[in-house]
């Protein structure tokens, strides 16, 4: 019987977490820009004086945010690569478009490429005044960001024997990525405290609803997952990391120190992903509860036995 999910380790967890956070940062920047933020800043620049400074600040802040998103997605990609047991074959990951992992790999590559191009507008390397081109890149970035933020949950939901991951992880993961992403943006100086506060409250509600509904209506594997989080070996990282550090403290601190609140939300988001990844235990197989030794332990016992026989054969002269 699986005590926790151990097939995908911390590297895969890190990838899902960083990719989701990066996606939301890119998403927020692009949405603000095409919702009128860019045009407003440009209009300020036309006015000159302080307006010019505001325009420069707008360009600089967005460039830094996109650079951070690019870096996080890149680090995530490296973690994913490190998780593979056959690293040099990684280009093969793009060869089966029916697989969600392939879709995710395309989303990550597309997101990184689009983030890079989009960031060039904010450096004025591609002129910021190319409004139509900027709009097209922003829309494509939003699409790739949504796919990148959503697909890990869909991928996990494919595990039919892991009921804890099966039901409605997409909104939960998305809202948590929103909390982490907006938290990091606040740490960078973006003024989005009310949005962040609402996202944290919504995350608390969705999380409670998810656990409550899974415990009530899920199968034995789903209930074991909930049990691991609430009462089992993951309770410290879940309550201490994901809930206290990631949600409760940021919701209180945000009115005093938005930067600290953002950083705490990011750390808590990592704990949340870790706990949820580990809690996805497989449906128990018949008799699995009785398995006392792992294959490795059996191998070790067999080698000890063989060594003992060899030793005995030597002392008895092979008789």
């Amino acid at each position: 019987m699986e005590k926790t999910q151990n097939i995908w380790g911390n590297l895969a967890t890190g990838y899902f977490f960083l990719a989701g956070t990066a996606a939301v940062i890119g998403l927020v920047v692009a949405v603000i820009d095409i919702a009128g933020g860019g045009e407003l800043a440009r209009a300020m620049a036309v006015m000159g004086g302080a307006g010019n400074d505001m325009f420069s600040t707008y360009l600089f802040n967005n460039f830094i945010a996109l650079a951070l998103a690019f870096a996080l997605a890149g680090i995530g990609g490296v973690l994913l690569l490190a998780e593979l047991t056959q690293k040099f074959r990684f280009p093969l990951v793009f060869t089966n478009p029916k697989s969600l992992m392939t879709i995710g790999a395309f989303a990550l590559s597309g997101f990184m490429g689009l983030t890079f191009i989009y960031a060039l507008f904010f450096l004025n390397i591609i002129p910021f005044d190319f409004t139509k081109l900027r709009f097209i890149v922003a829309v494509l970035l939003i699409i790739s960001a949504v796919v990148l933020a959503a697909y890990p949950a869909l991928e996990m939901a494919e595990a039919r024997g892991r009921g804890f991951w099966r039901a409605g992880l997409v909104p939960l993961f998305f809202i948590n990525a929103l909390v982490c992403g907006s938290g990091l943006l606040m740490a960078l100086g973006f003024r989005m405290a009310p949005f962040f506060f609402l996202a944290v409250l919504f995350n608390m509600l969705v999380l409670a609803g998810y656990l409550w509904s899974t415990e009530l209506s899920g199968g034995s594997d789903s209930r074991r997952g909930v049990d691991l989080l609430l009462r089992g070996r993951l309770k410290t990282v879940f309550f201490g990391g994901a809930v206290l550090v990631g949600l409760i403290l940021p919701a209180v601190i945000i009115w005093f120190s938005p930067v600290l609140a953002g950083v705490l939300a990011f750390v808590g988001g990592g704990c949340f992903r870790y706990a949820f990844m580990k809690a996805g235990v497989r449906l128990e197989l018949p008799g699995e509860r009785n398995v006392k030794y792992t294959d490795k332990e059996i191998e070790s016992l067999a080698h000890s036995l063989e060594a003992r026989w060899q030793e005995k054969a030597k002392t008895t002269g092979g008789n």
Binding site: I7, L84, T85, Q86, R89, L100, E158, R282, G287, N290
Partner: protein, 177 residues
């Protein structure tokens, strides 16, 4: 098909499989779990449960695989196979398999599993585990042929696949004790 009324848990199938596939000691395609004891004294029961790849007809591992390394080979029946040259070791197939049927080979560092002795089947032989089982607890046959021995036994003994509710349509059926 596996008749759990006959299996005594001797591990002969498991060891024969390791020999057939030249597997290291710690790597097994076929595990045997002991179920029970169940019931209340003195009416207790216990049985052995051989577990390996179920060669699901709606295999989640095949859908999940990003490289097409996990695929269904139809030449010798409906067999779920792994092309080791295409496997990148993302372990997605291991995560989605509800039967814990897949392992990472310590030698090739790719995912490996029961091959259903596809080369033996191609030669007209049966699987090694079936051949080895002295108690005839294992039987290989054509599920699509309603007149095959295995189809008849499934009907007669009301054999069922494991975790049928997951919808993976396993090709391995168990006659429960």
């Amino acid at each position: 098909m596996i008749d759990l009324r006959k299996c005594v848990g001797c591990y002969a199938c498991s060891v024969a499989c390791q020999i057939e596939n030249n597997l290291p000691l710690e790597l097994k395609y076929c595990n045997i779990n002991n179920v029970g004891p169940m019931g209340e004294y003195p009416n207790l029961t216990s049985y052995n449960m051989p577990l390996a790849c179920m060669h699901c007809q709606d295999a989640p591992c095949v859908t999940a695989c990003p490289t097409g390394a996990s695929h269904i080979s139809r030449e010798n029946g409906f067999i779920v196979s792994v092309d080791e040259k295409k496997c990148i070791g993302c372990l997605f197939c291991m995560v989605v398999c509800p039967y814990d049927a897949r392992r990472v080979s310590p030698e090739s560092k790719t995912v490996v599993k029961c091959t259903f002795c596809v080369t033996r089947l191609a030669r007209g032989e049966t699987t090694r585990c079936t051949e080895t089982c002295q108690l005839r607890a294992r039987l290989v046959g054509d599920l699509d042929d309603p007149h095959s021995e295995v189809s008849a036994l499934i009907r007669k003994e009301n054999a069922t696949p494991l975790h049928e509710h997951l919808g993976t349509r396993p090709s391995v059926y168990y006659i429960m004790p």
